[in-house]
């Protein structure tokens, strides 16, 4: 995998929602790089800011949400400085997105074919109508829809949930974008259908060489499809690293907690789950120190005072926790 070149570089991105109750810092300074042909997973609970972050990349952030700081560079250009026309060309052409619920994203009064062809024509790829239709049929076949020539003239309600998600993927990939943002694409689907869609996405990723940002709360899905993982909690990335490191050597207490609290189908004996106590923080009144501090069982005094910086804990593996400083000090004292 070629990870040397960077496709997308997010630096210190800050997104806030200005609500009547006050400013909600949904995304509070996150940074990461995404290489060509790389699949990055973003895991987090609801309200951790994982979707908001993705919406800002593609310029779909809605009021009262606003990007208030940082840069998003796509192939060296700052996406946040694009005007509307530029953004429209960028969206769909370079970056596209698939959503959690395909039924709410497909237009019920147009046929599937209509919507696929529209995506092509909008981006002026020089297709005639006949060519565009042919290309749309090809795409439907590519995503595993049988009988595509007949299916293309059907309406979304004639498709089952899994088929709709396939059609959404076809639509997202029809202009051959370099980056696909998948926001919980399998959450609304049953496990057997989820397995089909995951296999399809893995397949297409190899064939089309698309980079993917895969947003989910399901750790199992992440383990299966991602090369790298960012774990988000309350608007911050708290740990980031290669997928194997995150699952086999998690360092941040939150990541450890998440893994320990998930029942596994492959566990040998029945052990009591170790839950993360407490509830996610109120983003209107975030704590002064580490956001996870109030729920952390290893919480120290400094955790409540200051936000922890990132520490490199392995190759390409970073984690933001004061414990790492303690560990370092102990190590130094020993040697």
């Amino acid at each position: 995998m070629d990870e040397k070149k960077t496709l997308l570089s997010v630096k210190d991105l800050k997104v806030s929602f200005f609500t009547p109750a006050g400013e909600v810092k949904a995304v509070n300074g996150i940074s990461y790089d995404l290489g060509y042909n790389e699949v990055m997973g973003i895991v987090g609970e609801s309200g951790s800011g994982k979707s908001v972050e993705a919406y800002s990349i593609i310029g779909l952030l809605q009021s009262p949400g606003k990007v208030i700081g940082g840069t998003i560079e796509f192939e060296g250009e700052n996406v946040l400085e694009f005007d509307e026309e530029r953004m429209r060309q960028f969206r769909g052409n370079k970056v596209s997105m698939i959503f959690q619920n395909p039924m709410t994203c497909l237009n019920p009064v147009y046929t599937i074919g209509n919507q696929l062809i529209e995506a092509l024509m909008c981006h002026d790829k020089g297709y005639t109508k006949e060519q565009a239709r042919k290309r749309a049929i090809e795409m439907l076949e590519l995503v595993g829809i049988n009988n595509a020539e007949k299916r293309i003239d059907q309406y979304p309600h004639e498709f089952s949930g899994g088929m709709r998600q396939r059609a959404m993927i076809a639509m997202a990939l029809i202009c051959e974008p370099k980056l696909l943002i998948a926001d919980e694409p399998t959450t609304a689907l049953d496990v057997t259908i989820q397995a089909q869609i995951l296999e399809l996405m893995k397949d297409l990723q190899k064939k089309e060489n698309t980079s993917i940002i895969f947003i989910t709360h399901n750790l199992g899905v992440v383990a299966e499809i991602c090369d790298r993982v960012s774990v988000m909690y309350a608007g911050h990335i708290i740990e980031q690293g290669p997928v194997n490191d995150i699952f086999y050597e998690p360092r941040h207490p939150y990541t450890k907690g998440l893994l320990a609290s998930t029942p596994r189908l492959d566990e040998e004996t029945k052990e009591r789950l170790i839950p993360i106590e407490g509830t996610p923080i109120d983003l209107l009144n975030p704590p002064k120190g580490c956001n996870f501090g109030p729920r952390c069982k290893d919480c120290m005094k400094i955790c409540l005072r200051e936000k922890p910086p990132f520490v490199e804990v392995g190759e390409g593996h970073i984690s933001a926790c004061w414990l790492h400083f303690m560990e370092k000090r102990e190590e130094e004292a020993r040697s």
Binding site: E199, A223, F247, T262, R264, P275
Partner: protein, 330 residues
């Protein structure tokens, strides 16, 4: 746990819903079709299956929130429903013994009632408290049991997070001191870090009060964790039933095998190494279920016999039942 005593016995339970197919035509959704099984006292029986397989309908029909179409339900030796003998008892006394926890806590709690009123209503209906002081004490005791504070009694459901709302739902179910609780997807609306809190609490309450659970969920990992036995449903029928670890490690029915292989494992090496059984197509409509074995349209091993003859749930190894022709010897 005493596995001998049967608490609930279900025989050939059917639940059909009528739907209009045209102006004159009426069709029936066969949501639950001839399901028979028993639940032992003190155990947790898990029900898994994909959406539309009838697991929720089955759970609700058992406690007669839905009136069964036909079949027999016996609770602790007393028939509460029997279509052949025309028995359909008044459920009110049984509601004290059989309770349910719903999937979506925000939808199942009345937004205009305070938490105290919601829990107190159950106490009032069954006349469990004689005075207002006793009632208040009991509500506080229940809130304490599910890990909420006594001040919470005066708040409204919208003031709580999802996990706390589900705790209120559990307190409401516990108010009448039931023996049997149907847990209908009690954690699927909750965040990952909250799910395990609720699972642990349900386990603790069971041990403390000797409760029996019917635990319905689509997440097999959770069901396997909490259940003693698991029943797998497909299109209204039970296709496999057995000890939970046995079913998950040695699944017999091809559908169970597929279902298990589809579950994503939080382990990158294992999940990438394993071979998946992928199913073609989607679940057929329960209005017009396939003939013979209902799984034959998607089963990779289907034979002519499967297309014609419906397999029955048979005991293949002690305590492990499956409904598949392929398992017949000879």
């Amino acid at each position: 746990m005493s596995q001998e005593k049967v608490l609930l016995e279900i025989e050939n339970l059917r639940k059909y819903f009528s739907v209009k197919a045209g102006v004159f035509k009426k069709k029936r959704v066969q949501a639950v079709e001839s399901v028979s099984f028993s639940i032992f006292k003190g155990e947790t029986l898990g029900l898994v299956g994909e959406s539309g397989c009838g697991k929720t309908t089955l759970g609700r029909t058992i406690i007669r929130l839905y009136e069964p179409t036909s079949g027999r339900i016996v609770y602790d030796g007393t028939p509460i429903y029997d279509s052949e003998k025309n028995i359909a008892v008044d459920m009110l006394p049984f509601r004290r013994k059989m309770q349910i926890i719903f999937q979506d806590p925000s939808a199942s709690l009345d937004p205009r009632m305070t938490v105290g009123e919601i829990i107190g209503e159950a106490l009032d209906i069954h006349k469990l408290c004689s005075g207002s002081q006793e009632r208040r004490d009991r509500i506080n005791e229940l809130l304490d049991e599910v890990g909420l504070n006594t001040e919470h009694a005066n708040r409204f459901p919208h003031e709580f997070s999802g996990g706390q709302q589900q705790r209120v739902g559990i307190a409401r179910a516990l108010a009448v001191e039931p023996e049997f609780i149907v847990c209908d997807e009690p954690i699927s609306a909750l965040d990952v870090s909250i799910q395990s809190q609720v699972v642990n609490m349900l386990e603790d309450l069971q041990a403390e009060k000797n409760l029996t659970y019917l635990f319905i969920a689509h997440d097999i990992s959770v069901v396997r964790h909490i259940s003693n036995r698991i029943g797998v449903m497909y299109l209204g029928q039970m296709v496999e039933l057995g000890e939970s670890y046995e079913v998950c490690s040695r699944p017999m029915h091809p559908y169970t095998q597929t279902l298990l292989s589809a579950v994503p494992l939080p382990d990158p090496v294992k999940s990438r190494a394993r071979q998946r059984i992928l199913l073609e197509g989607d679940i057929p409509s329960p209005v017009d279920p396939p003939s013979g074995c209902r799984f034959h349209t998607r089963c990779p091993y289907a034979t002519d016999r499967c297309r014609q003859e419906q397999p029955r749930l048979k005991e293949h190894i002690s305590g492990h039942y499956a409904a598949c022709h392929l398992l017949d010897k000879g």
